[in-house]
Symmetry: C2
Subunit: 335 residues, 2 copies
């Protein structure tokens, strides 16, 4: 059986309160400090965090509910958030909602019951009703990567509209006018679609219906299938805007399969600087999201809420995502 604070008392002859105080960084006579330290070493004592949590009502644990734990995107977010939190003594309880709204609701509920101090959420649904559980329990929630329809929660996102707009502007500036887009009905997808539309509108370019592919959710399949359709068209686009990492993977698969060369035959621009662009030949031109900032800003805000509560209204942090030029976009000479 692990040693308890009472064993320390037996060993040192001091009172429980004194020992507890020492454990929490309070002042004790240096004579007693030494006694306690020695007893701790001798008994190999470690405070029982569960007991501590029961009285302080703080578990020093954050719940991270991820839309899809296996994805490279959330892996990188996880990495940065975990580093930030561990540095501050917080643990991270992870739940995978697996792109499913029901599992998302269960995950949130699970976190609440586990008494986490706060929740970091990459949302799947547009308005997880389950978040009311967290609210009722007074557990702060910070949204990452996506915002909800209601703006009742803090969130850290990038300005998807303007990022997609800049990407599309870039294609246009390279002489492209036949630009297809593949997006999804998810938050990031529809935001990025807006940016694409706006850029095209400003340039006065009409978009044939067959150039726009919308899926329910971002996926490799969506990219793959859409690209295959695009390749069948008589009047093929010269460039494609892929609004998501997984979608880009699918697009590239379809391109490879058909033996269509990028950028010679078709230009491509994607999102997220993860593994793909490193190994791809040519290097993909893409919108690079500031992954570390998204994670650490989110974690920072969450810890602040835990400390200070709802003193301030929910804030929306919108980060800048830079366009990184690779070699996947061809500069058309005729412009």
């Amino acid at each position: 059986m692990a040693a308890t604070i009472k064993d320390i008392r037996a060993e040192t002859g001091l009172g429980l309160a004194t020992i507890s105080k020492f454990l929490n960084g309070g002042n004790v006579r240096s004579e007693n400090r030494q006694k306690i330290e020695e007893a701790i070493r001798k008994l190999d004592y470690h405070p029982n965090e569960t007991a501590r949590s029961l009285v302080t009502k703080r578990t020093r644990t954050i719940g991270f509910v991820v839309n899809n734990i296996a994805s490279n995107f959330s892996g990188v977010l996880l990495q940065h958030a975990s580093a930030y939190l561990h540095d501050r003594g917080y643990g991270m309880m992870i739940c995978d909602s697996n792109l499913d709204e029901k599992q998302e609701a269960e995950s949130i509920r699970f976190c609440v019951e586990k008494q986490v101090d706060g929740i970091l959420l990459i949302p799947v649904s547009k308005d997880p009703s389950s978040l009311s559980f967290a609210e009722k329990g007074g557990i702060p929630v910070v949204l990452l990567d996506r915002e909800l329809e209601s703006d009742a929660f803090d969130c850290v996102i990038i300005d998807n509209v303007s990022a997609a707009e800049r990407a599309t502007d870039y294609l246009i500036s390279c002489g492209h006018r036949k630009i297809a887009v593949i997006y999804s009905g998810e938050y990031t997808g529809s935001e990025r679609f807006k940016g694409y539309m706006e850029s095209m509108r400003r340039a006065g370019i009409d978009i044939p219906d067959q150039y726009m592919f919308a899926g329910r959710t971002h996926s490799t399949e969506l990219g793959y299938n859409s690209m295959k359709e695009l390749l069948k068209l008589e009047d093929r686009p010269t460039a494609v805007l892929s609004t998501n990492y997984e979608v880009s993977l699918g697009v590239i698969m379809a391109l490879n399969e058909a033996g269509v060369k990028c950028p010679q035959d078709i230009s491509l621009i994607g999102f997220d600087e993860l593994i793909l662009p490193m190994v791809m030949n040519p290097r993909l031109t893409l919108v690079a999201q500031p992954m570390e900032d998204i994670a650490s800003e989110g974690a920072r805000i969450l810890l602040q809420r835990i400390e200070e509560g709802k003193k301030y209204p929910p804030q929306k942090v919108s980060l800048y995502a830079a366009l990184k030029e690779g070699e996947s976009v061809r500069k058309l000479s005729k412009l």
Copy 2:
């Protein structure tokens, strides 16, 4: 303030024990069951898991200490383990050791203090002394993907030696004799290297020193740099065995950069069926590890240990990893 079991007592007039019993699935008169259920609904009561844990000494949380959380490999393992555990009411506390032995030790210690019921570990160091913390606390540990020098712990691995042997045999059977290998001093790397050596020995093939590249740790850089060296050789290998996923990424980068075609100019065989082989052209021939089995077997054994303790000696589960043919290996005609 959240409702407690005492509020339920006040609401129903029943005793605490009865309510607790009901909460834990015991039998109560159906009249009382109804009363309790109604009170729970009315007060929006959720059991406080912290309090529960304090008395039962079970947190229903397991710690997952991952060598590198951002990697695709651990992401997939995480996904399967998390699904398995959640189905059984367990939460997962995640810690990233970030390929660093010190962080690994801290992570294990952290989990122990958080009172996890058990630990799933993808080890970084060959013998994490920090595991003694877990042992002393009576917290079972199951190793995933790698075993340690001491076999004091349960582990779930694949038979790396024979898998690499089969991969090398395959290259030889395709007519290759100049076969290079890129591996690392990590457990999986050195095991796979053994398999390579054994296969080459059996075939009676001498291996020039320049065909063997060893790194401290598996990484994209290792693959990239090693492949660049290989390409500089006067007498280039016709095939390369890359013993790890990240290494393969680096190899492919170097190949792309140099404009060397696979499999026309050089053949390649890798490990792990993750995202890369899906988007790569040609499809990579590889050793596919049974990711889901590794994760769920590991989790299953861990939960069993938690239930039954050290009744049985540590077991080593070695899973079969199949060779999946893609198109990255050229069949040399001259054999």
